[in-house]
């Protein structure tokens, strides 16, 4: 009798375990996050707005296909989001990502999400672990609010920290992606693959619903107005002015494109720590580093390869993620941002 009861209980337990849906883990990350959170999570939640489309109304690309660079039909001046990871390079055309905003990809054996928000001009990469990221249809400070399909937590892209859901307060693991042109990317990575227009969805990939980057017009024009309200407004630059931004636990730093191009190497202090940002003239972007030893980097000694900037002292710097963003959005997320406009500026 006791034995049969035991068998029954064991069988019931086994059946329960087998019938339970598998519990997926959320994306990997740090808690507390490595990046600053300037507003309270409750403030972010209050500032969330509907962007118009519903959840997944802007569909992420979950089974991306790629073409070799030789078969890509892209003009040299077209904007792309580039990723170089574990020796593998991929380009994601802006005119495809403007319709999807997220590509859930596998690169070098790692599960990554390549994300792009057209309303804030920001491209960021994240490790996604076993789950996928999707477009929630919501915005905060005009910025894409992503959700993860394991826990349904909500993550503003620029912030990289969950503001709602079971993982609220956790930061995502970021991965450097590059906002550049196809010509510049192909010159740096001739063997790059390119995201195909065979996305599984029907879209007019020859048209950008917001405007154009080539030449810059419509919503992307520096003086054009934003469409959604922001948590903090800063009118020091026209709203869509592009800045290069980086964050550390101590705060945020924005560097004007002009200062980065003209000075080549910028040393700046943020929260008592020294940071060094190197301009990459090939990709026209910055490589950001924490520089605790105060190593002097001379622009003339630098070379740029697929791996990034190389030169005396660079290998002793600690890489930090950085990305381009429209000024209004950067200032909205980081109202206390340090702003670097050049050595001559105060």
């Amino acid at each position: 009798m006791t034995l049969s009861l035991f068998r029954g209980a064991a069988l019931s337990t086994a059946l329960f375990l087998l019938s339970s849906p598998p519990v997926l883990a959320g994306p990997p990350g740090a808690s507390p996050p490595d990046v600053p959170v300037a507003h309270s999570l409750a403030s972010f939640r209050e500032a969330v707005r509907s962007g118009g489309p519903g959840k997944d109304g802007i569909p992420s690309i979950d089974r991306p296909r790629f073409l070799p660079a030789t078969e890509a039909r892209l003009d040299d001046g077209e904007k792309i989001i580039g990723v170089y990871h574990r020796g593998q390079a991929r380009a994601y055309p802006q005119r495809i990502l403007v319709w999807h905003e997220i590509v859930n990809d596998q690169l070098g054996g790692d599960a990554l999400s390549i994300t792009y928000c057209p309303l804030t001009g920001t491209a960021l990469g994240f490790r996604r672990g076993e789950t996928e990221l999707g477009v929630s249809g919501k915005l905060v400070n005009s910025n894409l609010v992503m959700y993860d399909r394991a826990t349904d937590s909500e993550w503003p892209q620029i912030l990289g920290v969950a503001i709602d859901g079971p993982l609220a307060g956790q930061g995502l693991e970021e991965l450097r992606v590059f906002w550049t042109t196809w010509g510049a990317w192909r010159a740096r990575h001739p063997g790059s693959e390119v995201l195909s227009e065979q996305t599984g969805f029907v879209r007019n990939y020859r048209r950008d619903p917001y405007g154009s980057y080539n030449p810059v017009s419509g919503y992307y024009a520096p003086d054009s107005r934003r469409l959604f309200p922001v948590m903090h407004r800063d009118d020091r630059f026209p709203p869509k002015t592009e800045v290069f931004g980086l964050r550390g636990p101590e705060g945020a730093l924005a560097i004007t494109r002009q200062a980065l191009r003209e000075e080549g190497v910028i040393d700046v202090t943020l929260g008592g720590w020294r940071y060094t940002v190197i301009h990459d003239p090939g990709l026209d972007t910055g490589w950001a580093f924490r520089n605790p030893q105060g190593i002097e980097i001379r622009p003339s000694s630098l070379d740029f390869t697929a791996e990034g900037a190389i030169g005396p002292g660079v290998d002793r710097l600690e890489p930090v993620n950085g990305f381009e963003a429209m000024w209004f959005a950067w200032a909205a997320f980081y109202p206390d941002t340090r702003l670097y406009q050049g050595a001559a500026s105060p």
Partner: protein, 196 residues
């Protein structure tokens, strides 16, 4: 209202006017939603690779395209449901315009200004289309009101359909047999109205 619609559609000239307005409105609606746009590379193309997405929603009253039609510089990302919604709204607008025109040619006591409700009703639907997936109007206007419009999007299209239907109903009341005595039996007969 049914009598009015039947009367409108039974007259070739009125029917042609309704169809022209319906098609014009449909094209405008599809253009504002982004289903119809430029960017074509010449020639023509017709592919329908995504019929499985025919019911898949993108936003309030917005559905996934199932095919792509290109002719010259024009590209139509074809969604069956978006097209049916646009055509229905266009039909309502067309009926309102033509019925309003009829009413305008009635004696003064027979035109209470009902047509304006219908024409006003055509605007929220266009805004609803533009609010979802291709905020063309808002980008052009440069107004930071997309958040407000987006939050209203779920009610804009039903609101527009309601306004257009009410407009048509109000016109029909003044052209219907019940008000014939007031209008001296001229309901649904614009030629007699003009002769007066």
């Amino acid at each position: 209202m049914r009598t009015l619609v039947r009367a409108l559609l039974s007259r070739p000239a009125a029917l042609a006017a309704v169809v022209v307005i319906m098609v014009a409105y449909l094209l405008l609606y599809l253009w504002l939603t982004g289903d119809l746009s430029g960017g074509g590379s010449g020639g023509w193309q017709a592919v329908f690779p995504a019929w499985d997405r025919v019911w898949q929603r993108r936003g309030p009253f917005q559905f996934e395209p199932v095919g792509l039609l290109a002719l010259g510089g024009l590209v139509w990302t074809f969604s069956l449901l978006n097209t049916l919604i646009a055509a229905s709204m266009g039909l309502l607008v067309g009926l309102n315009v033509v019925a309003g025109w009829w009413l305008w040619h009635r004696p003064r006591q027979c035109r209470p200004g009902a047509g304006s409700t219908g024409l006003l009703g055509s605007l929220p639907a266009l805004l609803a289309g533009g609010a979802c997936c291709a905020p063309l109007i808002l980008v052009w206007l440069g107004l930071p009101i997309a958040g407000t419009v987006a939050s209203l999007a779920p009610v804009l299209l039903p609101g527009a359909a309601l306004m257009l239907s009410v407009g048509l109903w109000r016109i029909s009341r003044h052209l219907a047999p019940s008000s014939a005595s007031e209008c001296r039996g001229l309901a649904c007969n614009p030629r007699e109205g003009r002769r007066r």
